[in-house]
Symmetry: C2
Subunit: 319 residues, 2 copies
């Protein structure tokens, strides 16, 4: 849906700020808690918790993360799912969200209704109250920024650091479908992330958002190389379809397109891989693939493994 109204009466400026905030409360429905825990004061209030707190922030920006071909509902859903994926990537669980909107006053009220309804549907599914936010004016654009507060119920947070030489590298799901719609259709791997935080053999965890070729470096311990086997990379059907017309290979799409929102993690090389994988399969239907391991750096790049220097992943600040 094109987000801008041609008639002023259809735009959010016709509503005005006070009625708009009331409308947002309505669109959010049960995801908007009552005072003092929700919208309408200088700050939102969140109950005390004995766990460590997690904080992440990600936006959706018109013409960067969504366009006229994407529905408003899918855009709102994408915004909260991007952030849920970050909480999953620490092994945490989400607690509450705030949404800051910077938008042109000509944005359609109907577009914003769809946006909040899409966001609220996911907020309900993952039990995340939307406790506050802000509305500001931005000429010609839409930037919706969601901050998600989570917590680490296991006491342990799984960071990107902690992998060691010899650790096996795993990835969930399949990679490379973002350009065919996966960038908003994905499922944040919250249950999987929380389970991984409880497994002592799991040493480091992140989500794949800028493409495996780029993101893997953040997980790689100093003095080691990630040795990945090309044939083991779980390439999505969408990446294969795309490759028929894009002039790139399915593997290039899988390694470089970004917005996979799958979990990438390291498991101790001393752990029983078969037992770990069997335990996973008893618990989840989500595909799990061992794509390689971390090896100490030697002189040249070992033959038979993927050379990641040829793949760059997504760069956010292209001029």
């Amino acid at each position: 849906m094109h987000p801008f109204a041609s008639r002023p009466a259809d735009s959010v400026s016709a509503l005005g700020e006070t009625r708009l905030i009331e409308a947002i409360r309505g669109w959010l429905g049960p995801s908007s808690p009552h005072h003092p825990f929700g919208i309408g004061d200088d700050c939102a209030v969140i109950p005390a918790s004995r766990h460590r707190q997690l904080v992440t922030v990600d936006p959706v920006i018109y013409r960067e993360h969504f366009d006229d071909t994407m529905s408003a509902r899918a855009t709102g859903a994408k915004l909260i799912k991007r952030n849920l994926s970050d909480v999953a990537a620490m092994g945490g669980r989400p607690r509450a969200a705030v949404v800051a909107l910077a938008l042109d006053p000509r944005v359609k009220t109907a577009w914003l209704a769809g946006f909040y309804q899409g966001l609220a549907a996911l907020a309900r599914r993952y039990q995340v109250p939307v406790v506050g936010g802000d509305i500001s004016s931005l000429a010609g654009g839409i930037v919706a920024t969601l901050t998600l507060i989570g917590e680490a119920p296991h006491g342990r947070v799984l960071t990107r650091k902690g992998a060691r030489p010899g650790d096996r590298i795993y990835v969930t799901g399949t990679l490379g479908g973002s350009l065919r719609g996966h960038h908003w259709r994905f499922t944040p791997r919250l249950a999987e992330g929380a389970w991984l935080a409880g497994e002592s053999s799991v040493r480091a965890l992140m989500d794949v958002s800028d493409g495996l070729a780029r993101d893997i470096h953040a997980l790689t311990p100093a003095g080691t190389l990630p040795l990945l086997t090309a044939t083991n990379i779980p390439v999505s059907a969408a990446a294969r379809t795309l490759a028929r017309t894009s002039g790139r290979t399915p593997l290039q799409h899988a390694l470089g397109d970004g917005e996979d929102y799958e979990l990438l993690f390291a498991v101790s090389g001393r752990a029983d891989a078969a037992a770990f994988e069997a335990k996973w399969r008893r618990r989840f239907r989500t595909r799990l693939t061992c794509i390689g391991h971390f090896a100490r750096k030697s002189g040249s790049h070992p033959e038979g493994y993927l050379d990641l220097t040829a793949h760059h992943g997504f760069e956010h600040l292209k001029a």
Copy 2:
């Protein structure tokens, strides 16, 4: 400072994302904590706390909240101070901040350095670590959104609700200077807000951000009117200066311009006002003024008091 570079080499796109994040860490200096509590993972981690948590989010947007006449340092300082004022307005204390940047790749690296250095100077003064954030591309614009996590150390949070008929209305500082620079030169009233939360006679609290005439309604209990005496409104010197050329009165500037970032609160009508004010003066040099009280609604607007319907305050979504 004009934020956009004319030479690509001076822009953030020349740095690229990875080096830009390293640069931001440097500009933040000691306000950027070490892993896992700071920048560089999927989420930031905040230590557990036994207090209720507060969350607020406010942006600064190019051509809305700052322009070429304002320094980059002042812009960064304004961003964190806007949010600190919201935590002050609940009687809380700040804990940690995350910053989401949506910016054109042509933004000057020097502008962004100043922005973060200005933000960091305030973050140090108020002991607020900047624990994470995001960088995304926004063609032609700059939207910097800060989410501030705080907590309520007194157990009590002072919301906007709680005033009763007969309560006295107080405001800190002076009003109406925003158009002459107060919108970024203000001091967030954190110490004052925290002190008010410990005073049982204080029943409701907020900050004045959209102008007193508009904001007072949020504090006003149902079935009452705020009866304000025009001569008691603490009008700033800047509002008087402005009125010489603006075609509006100093009082109009004080009531309607917004961005005062002063505290507005209600004190029980049964409390000893002289004792309360004396206690304040022993503690703070910040000006404190009783500007009126809440009275039960009768038929017509009582004579001798300000008629606020003539003043509208700042509307965020003007078309």
